[in-house]
């Protein structure tokens, strides 16, 4: 079965909520999600982020929903790590 293990996302967000709350909201969108967030660029009202999400079976839809809820928008998916796991 194909499972997404890692996603590298390019995201634009307003200054509020701050990066900690933003990362926590994304981490809360799945049962075992781990989030690494880096601010790439900061403008007057917005911040460009690189977000790396790791998990056993990532669901991109729920991550996008969490990003939208926080007022952010997904610009691109810049990297993925998918594995094919066979269940016995």
């Amino acid at each position: 079965m194909l499972r997404t293990k890692q996603l590298v996302l390019d995201v634009l967000k307003p200054h509020k909520p701050d990066v900690l709350e933003f990362a926590r909201a994304i981490a809360a969108s799945g049962p075992d999600y781990r989030v690494q967030l880096t601010v790439i660029e900061m403008d007057d009202k917005t911040e460009t982020l690189q977000i790396i999400v790791d998990g056993a079976d990532l669901q991109l839809d729920s991550i996008i929903a969490a990003i939208h809820e926080m007022g952010g928008s997904l610009h691109s998916v810049d990297g993925v790590n998918v594995s094919n796991e066979h269940s016995d």
Partner: protein, 194 residues
């Protein structure tokens, strides 16, 4: 469930810093309410003795008017400000934020701020009117009700100043004494002109 609701509500409030605006309105309009009641009570105390029921009715009328004015003015101005802020944020994000927490915050925060701006002077006024109301109900007070009301007004004005001192990190007593000085100048002005 209630905890989740309050946490979400607190997050929305923090999102556009409504709590800071509401706190400012609480002090500003609370001060308005206390000073208006102080003026009314001083005016009544300087005029021919009035029936406490008449004083109470006049004060209650003024308190309700202050509350209505506080709600409508804050709601209209804050709605306009929040809508502008939200539109500017949408323009910066170049995306539709209608389903985001920011949209909900911009809808709800004017109501919250208006409620604070309305209830703050009403609460101050009701506390200042309390001795009059108690007298009306037949309770005997150690002080004459108008004087007791004036004393409560001074006390509340001092507390509002002290509160400002606490939140600004300055010496609360000094801050309280400054607002008390404003109440004293108001009293002297009323004595001078009435």
């Amino acid at each position: 469930m209630a905890e989740g609701f309050f946490r979400r509500a607190w997050r929305l409030i923090q999102l556009n810093r409504s709590h800071v605006i509401a706190r400012r309105y609480f002090v500003v309009n609370g001060f308005d309410g206390a000073l208006t009641m102080l003026g009314l009570l001083l005016g009544f105390s300087l005029s021919t003795p009035s029936d406490p029921a008449v004083v109470l009715a006049a004060c209650l009328g003024a308190a309700i008017a202050l509350a209505m004015s506080g709600f409508s003015s804050a709601y209209i101005s804050e709605s306009a400000e929040r809508q502008l802020e939200f539109r500017q944020l949408q323009d910066s994000m170049i995306s539709d934020l209608r389903d985001s927490a920011h949209a909900r915050a911009s809808r709800w925060s004017p109501l919250l701020i208006a409620a604070v701006n309305s209830l703050s002077p009403l609460l101050m006024s009701l506390l200042i009117m309390l001795p009059l109301w108690l007298t009306e109900r037949g309770y005997a007070l150690p002080l004459e009700p108008l004087l007791a009301g004036i004393a409560i007004a001074f006390g509340l004005i001092f507390l509002l100043g002290a509160f400002l001192g606490v939140i600004s990190g300055t010496f609360w007593l000094w801050s309280g004494l400054k607002t008390l000085a404003v109440a004293t100048i108001t009293t002297l002005a009323i004595y001078a002109f009435v």
